[in-house]
């Protein structure tokens, strides 16, 4: 970083400032900016503008409508419920897995990381189908468990089923995000704490967890945001019949009936604000962690 800055700084000090000195170089940024504007900034801008666009002039009518409607409130609650549960469970499994992954021989570790990487690609529609095969009404595992008498029936197409499938796609992401964080743990710390009289759990509680806490929290936020914005698996599994916030947004713009893009925009703004809020809290907590002090 510093290295890259110095020549520019030296140049700026050496001659009079000419802000457009590199205008030809700047031309190379134009296609980049155009594409980003057309396919990311413009649609986002449209969404923000139209969320406050009522039938008769600007106003917050759509937001009031959403907040007053039990249907949309339920969509938010369902999305939050599934996202929180799946991020929590996924994070826990990933945490235990990543901690152990660091303790197995290098070759095995590399193979498992590569495998995890591949399964992280199994998401969306293909994942939904895979789950139907395993734990659908006539899935192999459902039949097995039913035969053993462990379950009466399992509804993959319900809240519980969605939690399960979301958790599944959170695990590889969690492992891949958390695994590098464990490299920050120095083996000597555990030994030093043992010599100072600490038990294994005391080491984890007092020494290791505080070090990796920011990474754990950051991973949780990413998993949560990922789950809140997810659409394909739920849509493929329930053909859009489960009331999630992303399913609602999509059906308001591409459904067969009741197209209400402005309302979809308002829902989108609420969803995005929620994600921004969560990320900001994460950033604030991160700043309070020991490294920043």
């Amino acid at each position: 970083m510093l290295n890259a800055l110095t020549p520019a700084a030296a140049a700026a000090a050496g001659r009079p400032r000419r802000p457009f000195r590199h205008w030809r170089s700047a031309l190379l940024l134009v296609p980049f900016c155009v594409l980003l504007a057309l396919f990311c900034l413009a649609p986002l801008g449209w969404v923000v503008l139209h969320s406050v666009q009522g039938d008769d002039g600007p106003g917050f009518g759509h937001f009031r409508e959403i907040l007053a409607s039990p249907f949309y409130r339920l969509a938010f609650i369902n999305s939050l419920y599934i996202s929180l549960w799946s991020s929590g469970c996924g994070l826990l499994i990933a945490l235990i897995g990543a901690a152990s992954l660091r303790r197995v021989p290098g070759r095995l570790r590399n193979a498992v990381v590569a495998f995890t990487n591949m399964t992280s690609n199994l998401a969306g529609v293909p994942l939904a189908f895979a789950f139907v095969i395993v734990i659908g009404t006539n899935g192999a595992l459902t039949l097995l468990l039913r035969q053993w008498g462990w379950i009466d029936d399992f509804h993959l197409y319900s809240k519980g089923g969605l939690c399960l499938i979301y958790t599944y796609f959170q695990i590889p992401l969690g492992v891949l995000l958390l695994y590098p964080a464990f490299d920050a743990l120095d083996d000597d710390w555990q030994q030093a704490s043992a010599l100072l009289g600490a038990r294994l759990w005391q080491y984890w509680w007092h020494v290791a967890l505080p070090v990796i806490a920011p990474a754990i929290f950051g991973t949780f936020i990413l998993l949560f945001a990922n789950a809140m914005g997810a659409y394909a698996s739920a849509y493929a599994l329930t053909t859009g019949n489960f009331n999630l916030i992303t399913v609602r947004i999509a059906s308001l713009v591409s459904g067969d009936i009741f197209l209400e893009p402005d309302l979809a925009a308002a829902l989108s703004v609420l969803l995005t604000l929620l994600l921004v809020l969560v990320c900001t809290v994460n950033q604030m907590l991160l700043k309070r962690s020991y490294r920043a002090r």
Binding site: L28, P31, T116, F131, V253, L271
Partner: protein, 261 residues
């Protein structure tokens, strides 16, 4: 030794957990008939034969490949010079760029597609329903990965020293970039391209909402045949999975080369 065993068991459990859906799908795709029993009755490859002779599947797969390759070509042509210019001429911009490339990452595709659908349904740019809009959207999906990887490579080399040395030896800036800097970016770029490729092949939201069956991609096709035989869909899922497996394998191999270099 006891701790060692525990860690191996945990890792094995993790792998088993992640492998269950994959293995089940594989078994299902190879099963001749698998009704309401726990294990299949017989095995055959006929679902794969049927799949690879289905013109609709082949055309959807072709569409997906075409769109992905076009996107990655466009992204390479646009992002590589942009990153270079940022690092060489406007290093102060790097912070802004890092925030900008987070946007497509942070905004769920469902949200962007609300705006895209309205903006490009008609008017001066009637892109909805055409593959062009997907190429644009997929550019934003590939952007964060590619920018990050390229920026890391550039940060890791002495860009200004390399360029100065090439200039002193008589190369113009574009030639210096092509002959001196670009070869150093190659492995990183390839790794991020393979990674993005597997992401793009799995993309469903944009494809379904913005284009749908008007230019059917692999995922949309997969969704639309959900009512046909489960064995058949399993064969599609496995074909797709093996394909991405190869892609990620290439990506990790290149990534390893990068870290060794």
């Amino acid at each position: 030794m006891r701790a060692d065993l525990y860690h191996r068991l945990v890792v094995a459990a993790l792998v088993a957990l992640l492998a269950v859906p994959v293995l089940a799908t594989l078994a299902y795709s190879l099963a001749g008939n698998w009704g309401a029993t726990i294990l299949p009755d017989s095995f055959s490859v006929r679902w794969y034969l049927q799949l690879w002779h289905d013109p609709r599947f082949l055309s959807a797969f072709g569409h997906s490949l075409l769109i992905s390759v076009a996107t990655l070509l466009l992204s390479t042509l646009v992002i590589v010079p942009a990153v270079f210019v940022v690092f060489y001429r406007f290093p102060a911009l790097d912070r802004t760029m890092n925030l900008l490339i987070l946007l497509p990452f942070a905004v769920p595709p469902v949200v962007s597609s609300v705006g895209l659908l309205q903006l490009y349904a008609d008017g001066p740019l009637p892109l909805v329903g055409t593959p062009w809009i997907l190429i644009g959207c997929y550019f934003t999906i590939a952007l964060p990965f590619m920018y990050r990887t390229l920026a890391d490579s550039l940060r890791g080399m002495n860009l200004h020293d390399l360029m100065d040395a090439a200039h002193l030896l008589g190369a113009s800036t574009p030639r210096a970039f092509l002959l001196v800097v670009a070869p150093n970016l190659r492995t990183g770029l390839m790794a991020s391209l393979f990674l993005s490729f597997s992401f793009l092949l799995g993309e469903f939201v944009f494809a379904n909402i913005l284009v749908g069956t008007r230019y059917e991609t692999l995922q949309v096709y997969l969704y639309s045949v959900r009512m046909t035989s489960g064995h058949f869909t399993s064969a599609i899922v496995m074909s797709y999975f093996v394909f991405t497996l190869v892609l990620t394998w290439f990506a990790t191999r290149l990534g390893k080369q990068e870290s060794q270099a």
